[in-house]
Amino acid sequence: MSPTTWGWLVLLFPLLGTITIGLGFRTYSRAAGVIGTAAIFLAFVCSVGALIALLGRTGTHREVVSSLWNYDVSAGVDAKLQILIDPISVFMMLVVSGVSTLIHLYSTAYMRSDKGYSRYFAYLNFFVLSMLVLVTGGNFIMLIIGWAFVGAASYLLISFWYRRSTATRAGIKAFVINVLGDVGLVLGTFFIYRHTHTVSFLGSFAAAPHVFHTDSPDLVAGCLLFLVGAFAKSAQVPLHTWLPDAMEGPTPVSSLIHAATMVTAGVYLIVRLHPLFQLAPTAAEVGAIVGCMTLLIAGTIALVVTDIKRVIAYSTMSQIGYMIMGASSGAYAGALFHLMTHAFFKALLFMGAGSIIGAMAGEQSLDRMSGFRKALPFTFICFLAGGLALSGVPPFAGWFSKDDILAFMDHRGGIYEVLGILGYVGAFLTGAYTFRLIFRAFYGEPSPEARELEHGHLAHAEVHRNPANGEEEDTDVGFPGPEHVIAEREPAMKVAMGILAILALVGGFVQVAGVDAVISKFLATAFVHTPLASPADQPSVGFDWIGLVVGAIVGLLGIGVAYRVYIAKPGTSAALQARFAALHNFLVHKWYFDELIDVVVVRPALTLGRFAQAVLERVFISGALTGGVTGIVRSGSAAVRRAQTGLLRLYAGAVVLGLTAVVLYFLISAK
């Protein structure tokens, strides 16, 4: 079969899964998990099929476009239901469907006692479908559709426990910020379409060098708007505030959407549109700088946050900062490589966190966790593997991929060299916050829950409370049900975490400088026309290895600091807090970004809105415009219904009248 046939099949299975589960959610409650997992697994199998089909081709034959239907109508927009199968999309398909399969598997156990079990799987399958549409779409229209769909899926899943006020609020926040990104994406598309007169990717890329010169104003504007979309979806400063709040969703959701797949869509966008960004270096620089800022800001916040999921969420932002920075600088293969390894270890970390939260009976605060090393040995090992990969410790996956990006940037020089060095600072922070998390949760004196678990009992909270605001909740209906689960006792969770742990360990070996370069070679055809991807622009093997050694040392340094603060001298953290109270406060308030946005955007908007409501809306729109129009329609409706008397003779009268009018018209038009 051709790659595109596989591509359509990849989309088909999640679609069928969504529909089957969604329509029959009451008929088969338990089977929903199996159906959902199987659907995504089949999508993964088809992605592998697409990969094999693509490997059988060479050069430009690896870029295959297939359209099911041409929406091309009135305005001359070549809108098509079109997919583009090329190395980039196949790579993304593999990562998305593969990680999704494992997370679906994990969820079958994790969500087992939730009453919304099948609704959950319907949403989750819908999300995977949307994500796959996003990454396979062959033109801007499909991209926008996928982009909007994942936003909707993310909203549904963040607010999954919709009786939690915090969850619904977080869902709304995420949705609003994401829509901002959607607007950016749509407007950016207009800027490009205006000049290229096509919405297809390949067509735009082919036309772009002819219609744009380097840094054309419209191109830069378009690319900056695309970046707004990317920043919103990928939680980059200053549009990042929704991501920590999105942790209100079930933990597997955080793992799938807010770590492994959806939030990396921004990286995909930049990589997909790289021919445009290459022509707009100014926009690319903005992307790189913002990515770098994000990775530092998020890294510092992660040092002080106490909610275990939020620590990982800030870490996600920070890691995506690396990817955005890398992709904007031209390290496309590196960014995608890091995207892949990050998907492995970050999904793993969230799964581990889910297991700990299960052991803590729903509690998420690091302040109350400690000493789970003995109680949760499997979780500990997996978490450690994920943590080491995240910190960039050799030979774990993150070490290779992160330094792939940084080495490229340092090699490129100029402003990118500065950003690359700042990236090493971020690596230090990463090591520190990751092992702060591990040391606090797994080491030290076992907490009461950990002790109970060591005696073979899973802790149960007397009253279940919302971890965010302490509201009482009824576990009979959710969160995630009355029974808590830990990986140690659930084969499904164990399998999912085990596979990811192995991948976190070995995932980096596919691309080792000087040894092999599976990813770069596979992706090479997609970047063949890209100046930055030429071999001369790649750092030498020796340079790479210097970067790798430096990265490892910096990461280990961060771990060492964490060890010193939390294990060697346990009181240090409190002392530091007291000493740098102002700084701590600043970080605890997340650099006051929420407050800043509140002052700069929300309040003026509210004031403006109130004014508009009072003046424009009430007087002008409701009164004159809408009121007038609806008044006309209403009275028209009344007239039509009044004419409908039910009396045949009146109908006949109307008929004769109409007939007379029609005949009159024709007589007048007669010669």
Binding site: K115, E472, G478, S637, V655, V663, A670
Partner: protein, 545 residues
């Protein structure tokens, strides 16, 4: 005079009579239906209740399936004019035939457990339906004024009776009577118009009429008052069948009163046939007169769009609402006819197919609703989303598709029409169409809201339990915070608000609703196959741009 002239002519007659060549292959779609109708009528006389209740509808389905089979068999063959110029079996006719046949299949399924066939007699009911279907097939393939009129009558007369099939219900009888009288007015108008056209051109064959109008000598005929008056009368006659305003007033009344299965059949099949014959007659036979009839039809179309949409606002009966909506949709379909281009013909037939898919699903749900709650009031829909998600989704999709929401076939259909209008120089009509679609949201969305709204009593329970009452027994109060629709459902079911009604529905209704609801979405996302299918219709009418 050596022989009596009569005897002479008699001898001549016996000597030279050769019947016209009958191409049975071409005629098969019509013949199958006629034979099927007769067989069904005879089997309906069987004494066994079992045979009548099960075998007759099954045979009817077999007959329709046979017709569908022959239609597919003949599809995209070279068009032929058969039986001495009476019929022309081309792709336009076959597409319309297929649409009508699918509507008939759905109608038979909807009537499977209904009261109407039992009251009217299974054999009679179903054979009338087959005869009506045959009438549609004759009408859409008619190539002669006389065949046209007979087809129209063969279509209408069974429907007059079928509307009154639920004899003991006043509404049904009234619907039949109204349809009969108003329909007769329409038929009379049509036949008058046909007579005038014959009088002006001296021809009855469509091809001959078109030839006369297009020829040099007939050029002077184009402004002829007799001909134009004939055209006016024909427009009015067709407008009746297609329920175009201001000749639409029977529509809501008859749709509401008739048995719902028949309403579904009328709404979809009759409209498809009427639009198809509209297309053939105006875009083929009278295409030379386009400059004269197009503005009139454009005006009628815009009046229809506005009146239909505006009238549907504020209706509380679903069948009535769909009646008005059908009026508005007829206006949309007319717009594609007005431009008189191949694109317009294709767009119109696309919309006919879309209209079929959108309406049948909705009518299946209405039949279910009538069986469960005894009425088709919109208010009775509330809670359907919980009782029967499949039906609720089908109706939701149907409503959204009728309103033209993207992702449904209704959207693609409207876009196609707008495309053809803009291309054909009728931009203002496209604007009217869009305004109409905008107004239509006002009632389609009300239906959607009614489906998914919690019934008033269940909502009361949920609100009562919303306070912070920790530790209260779950059976009595819904949970206090957090949860899922599933839990709400259990809570309200525990409160006795729901659960007494049938949870799903009759399998044939679920089938119809599910299939057509799904097709609305499938062809809304992947309209390619339908588009290629209807493109044949545009190509069938020779002489169009």
């Amino acid at each position: 005079m050596n022989a009596h002239p009569y005897a002479m002519s008699f001898l001549l007659a016996t000597a030279h009579i050769h019947g016209p060549h009958i191409s049975w292959a071409e005629l098969s779609p019509i013949a199958v239906l006629g034979v099927g109708a007769l067989v069904v009528l005879l089997v309906g006389l069987a004494s066994s209740q079992m045979v009548r209740a099960r075998l007759v509808p099954t045979l009817t389905l077999v007959a329709i399936a046979g017709a569908i089979g022959t239609e597919i068999w003949r599809f995209s063959h070279a068009p032929q004019t058969i039986v001495a110029g009476a019929l022309r079996i081309d792709d336009l006719a076959l597409i319309a035939d297929l649409v009508c046949a699918v509507a008939a299949v759905a109608a038979v399924l909807l009537a499977w457990r209904a009261r109407a066939p039992r009251e009217a007699g299974q054999g009679e009911f179903h054979s009338l339906m087959l005869f009506s279907l045959m009438g549609m097939a004759v009408l859409v393939s008619a190539q002669d004024l006389i065949t046209l009129f007979l087809g129209l009558e063969l279509l209408s007369i069974p429907l007059y009776v079928l509307c009154a099939a639920e004899y003991r219900r006043e509404g049904s009888l009234e619907a039949g009577l109204k349809y009969l009288i108003i329909g007769s007015v329409g038929s009379a108008t049509l036949v008058y118009g046909l007579a005038l056209i014959y009088g002006a051109t001296g021809q009855t064959g469509f091809g001959a009429v078109a030839h006369v109008l297009a020829s040099q000598s007939g050029g002077g005929l184009l402004g002829d008052p007799l001909l134009l008056t004939g055209i006016a009368l024909v427009i009015v006659g067709f407008a009746f069948k297609a329920s175009v305003a201001p000749f639409h007033q029977w529509t809501p009344d008859v749709y509401e009163g008739a048995p719902t299965a028949i309403t579904a059949f009328m709404a979809t099949a009759t409209k498809a046939a009427a639009i198809a014959v509209f297309l053939r007659f105006f875009d083929f036979t009278l295409t030379a007169e386009h400059v004269n009839w197009a503005p009139a039809l454009a005006a009628l179309a815009s009046v229809t769009i506005i009146v239909g949409n505006v009238g549907a606002l504020g209706q509380s009966s679903l069948k009535r609402l769909l009646g008005y909506s059908g009026v508005a949709q007829a206006g949309y379909m007319l717009t594609g006819l007005v431009v008189g281009t191949r694109l317009g013909v294709s767009a119109t037939m696309f919309y006919v197919v879309a209209y079929l898919l959108m309406n049948l699903g909705a009518f299946a749900v209405i039949v279910h609703q009538e069986r469960v709650s005894g009425s088709d009031r919109m208010a009775a829909l509330s809670g359907l989303g919980r009782r029967s998600p499949l039906l609720a989704w089908s109706l939701t999709i149907a409503m959204l598709a009728l309103a033209g929401i993207p992702g449904t076939i209704g959207f693609i259909g409207k876009v196609q029409l707008i495309h053809s209008l803009v291309n054909g120089g009728y931009g203002w009509l496209a604007i009217v169409l869009v305004v109409g679609a905008m107004i239509s949201l006002g009632y389609y969305l009300r239906v959607v809201a009614a489906i998914w709204m919690t019934p008033a009593d269940a909502r009361g329970v949920a609100v009562a339990g919303a306070g912070p009452l920790a530790g209260a027994p779950v059976a009595a109060f819904p949970p206090i915070a957090g949860g899922s629709p599933e839990a709400d459902l259990q809570a309200s079911a525990g409160g006795g608000a729901l659960g007494v009604e049938r949870l799903t529905g009759d399998p044939e209704l679920l089938l119809v609703a599910g299939v057509f609801g799904a097709l609305c979405i499938v062809f809304g996302v992947i309209p390619g196959p339908v588009f290629e299918f209807v493109a044949h219709a545009g190509a069938a009418l020779v002489g169009l741009r």
